[in-house]
């Protein structure tokens, strides 16, 4: 095997993706760049009010027009992208952390701990989608941090469930047995041996829900339970535009298209990455033993995780293939 740099390996890996996946990944990259640099490059301030220009139609100076406070809608969309992407990333990171901790506790703890966590997961999965998040945000008080907190607190169960089964499987592996035989403590086994090996699948798992989280954030913000004015957020912008949508439909169409486009890009990229990993089974390239090991767990996750809603996943992968915990 010729010596390749990391960058070359990565680019060749990307180039073997499905074309749709490549387009989606580039689109996602563009969206991230726009979120990072858009507000800075586009000179207009998202919060600058120009009362004389309130509710104007698209023009050269304001390509998407202005809202009821005379604020530039394009600038607000850029800033909104930041909050949507950052918020979803924080939620996914939080969910993964809780999922990892509780999954490890369930997998390494005694029978009692395992049963308690298992029952808790089952019961929380019985509460559908946004219902607990809606209730918790409303009670904590509507604000963006509270919304993120509510989404994290209510959506860790599916993550914990998959972490538990991943860790249980790794625990049976030879390398873990050897480490335990050498006298490694549980902590060393978990953090030094198991964690690096499940990192890949964990990352995929975290991104699989990314699109759903963006939609959830937008829905609850639309209801007024998330980002508070004047900070722009896509869902909130749609709600603000409702009062004027008969005459200025663009104010509502644009943020909606942004949400749809982002979720589409995220879902398709995720699909393509999972397909690519699942397809590695058929690749003729030689791989070092460790990455092959990691690859095998990656494939398992690729089979388990899809951006379908939680319920569907549970029905499709849990009950009928006998992999339910």
């Amino acid at each position: 095997m010729p010596v390749q740099s990391r960058v070359q390996r990565f680019s060749s890996w990307i180039s073997e993706l499905h074309p749709t996946g490549r387009i989606a990944l580039s689109l996602l990259l563009c969206l991230v760049l726009l979120a990072l640099f858009g507000p800075w490059v586009w000179g207009q301030g998202a919060l600058d009010q120009h009362v004389e220009l309130r509710l104007s139609n698209p023009s050269l100076h304001h390509p998407l027009g202005t809202d009821s406070y005379g604020r530039d809608i394009l600038a607000r969309l850029f800033l909104g992208a930041r909050w949507s992407l950052l918020g979803a990333a924080l939620v996914c990171a939080g969910v993964s952390t809780i999922g990892f901790v509780l999954g490890t506790l369930a997998a390494f703890g005694n029978r009692f701990v395992d049963t308690i966590i298992g029952r808790l997961i089952e019961a929380l999965l019985a509460l559908p989608g946004l219902v607990p998040a809606l209730a918790l945000t409303a009670i904590l008080g509507p604000s963006f941090p509270n919304l993120l907190l509510a989404l994290i607190v209510t959506s860790w169960p599916s993550s914990a469930r998959i972490f538990r089964s991943l860790i249980l499987r790794e625990r049976e592996a030879g390398y873990v047995e050897s480490a335990i035989a050498l006298g490694a403590s549980s902590r060393v086994v978990i953090f030094r041996h198991i964690l690096p090996n499940i990192f890949g699948p964990a990352l995929i798992l975290a991104t699989a829900n990314f699109g759903g989280v963006i939609l959830g954030l937008a829905s609850l913000s639309f209801l007024g339970l998330g980002m508070q004015p004047p900070t722009p957020e896509w869902g909130r912008m749609i709600n603000d535009a409702r009062a004027y949508f008969q005459r200025y439909p663009w104010q509502m169409i644009a943020p909606g298209l942004c949400i749809a486009l982002t979720v589409l890009a995220v879902n398709l990229s995720g699909d393509a990455l999972r397909d690519r990993i699942a397809g590695e089974r058929y690749s003729k390239r030689e791989m070092p033993p460790r990455s092959r090991r990691a690859g095998s767990t990656l494939r398992d996750v690729a089979a388990q995780v899809s951006p379908l809603p939680k319920l569907t996943q549970r029905a499709a992968s849990g009950r009928f293939s006998g992999t339910e915990m």
Partner: protein, 310 residues
């Protein structure tokens, strides 16, 4: 079958227990004194400290948490979930009066989506790689990416405000039902098409299909006798769960159309921070889910004997 039935029924209790603990916990962390809020809601003009004390004693607010939980649970088992902080109506009545409208919406949307999605998913799987398959996939991908409340607003803009074909608000009339049902079915269809396609492809790759082919059965016979019965289980499961999801997760769409269902009730309560009604929604959602899950499991157990042996 009876052992399966008993096992499934017993599994419901721990779930209900956790849901009740969560519901009680949500109530316990609510800021503000429920006694004062309830006295205000009941229309008492001047709230005296004595009245507050009496109300607190009536609500057992001064007892330790475990005692309060037990008392709350006893009340809940008798159908008493407290009163709204705003209208002073009993929460149970509020939900009882609105559940039918939501059920109507959910059932119509679920049937409509099944009517289109199942044949589409099956055709897509059979003619894999054809333009129909491509269309099904594109529909599924877009359907799961577009926010439902935005589709609802677009529908209102184009069909109601521009073309004047349909009313802008959901009402319990033939015309008023079309748009809410259509919007909910659209999102549902995406999931269902994708799932049906996957399930059919999965069944088609099973050895028994190959055996049937080797026996010389025609494609049609294989489809009707071997493929379709084996796809029923997963499809029924998802359809049931989606219906439960439509009854509870459609809150935002209900809110946009001002549909007189439990979702709109919950969203309005959330905006007013009316805790008893919000908690009532979590409980209602949990009950709907547990019930429909049970029904689906039993239905699947009936059509698929493999599930029963678990």
């Amino acid at each position: 079958m009876s052992r399966f039935l008993i096992a499934r029924l017993l599994a419901v209790f721990p779930v209900l227990l956790v849901i009740s603990l969560l519901a009680f916990g949500l109530q316990a962390i609510t800021p503000g004194d429920p006694a004062i809020l309830l006295l205000q809601a009941s229309g008492v003009e001047t709230i005296t400290p004595e009245a507050i004390q009496a109300k607190r004693a009536e609500l057992h607010l001064d007892d330790p948490l475990p005692v309060r939980y037990t008392q709350w649970l006893v009340g809940a088992l008798h159908g008493d979930f407290g009163r709204s902080f705003r209208s002073y109506e009993p929460v149970t009545n509020l939900y009882r009066d609105r559940i039918a409208a939501t059920a109507l919406l959910a059932l119509c949307a679920a049937s409509l989506s099944a009517l289109f999605a199942i044949p589409l998913g099956m055709t897509a799987a059979y003619w894999r790689g054809s333009w129909l398959d491509a269309l099904a996939q594109v529909l599924a991908v877009i359907g799961s990416a577009v926010p439902g409340f935005w589709v609802a607003l677009m529908g209102i803009y184009f069909l109601a405000a521009r073309l004047h074909w349909l009313p802008a608000f959901g009402t319990l009339t033939m015309k008023g039902v079309i748009m809410p049902v259509g919007v909910l079915a659209l999102a549902n269809m995406a999931t269902l098409t994708r799932l049906t396609r996957g399930v059919v492809l999965d069944v088609l790759s099973q050895p028994f299909v190959r055996v049937a082919r080797a026996k010389g059965l025609s494609t049609r016979e294989i489809a009707i006798r071997h493929v379709f019965p084996n796809t029923l289980g997963p499809i029924l499961t998802v359809l049931g769960l989606e219906t439960a999801h439509l009854m509870t997760g459609a809150a935002v769409v209900e809110y946009v159309f001002a549909w007189p269902g439990i979702g709109k009730l919950a969203v309005d309560a959330a905006l007013l921070r009316d805790t008893p009604v919000i908690v009532g929604f979590a409980i209602a959602a949990g009950l709907i889910f547990v019930t429909l899950n049970l029904v689906v499991d039993l239905a699947v157990g009936t059509v698929d004997p493999r599930v029963r042996s678990v």
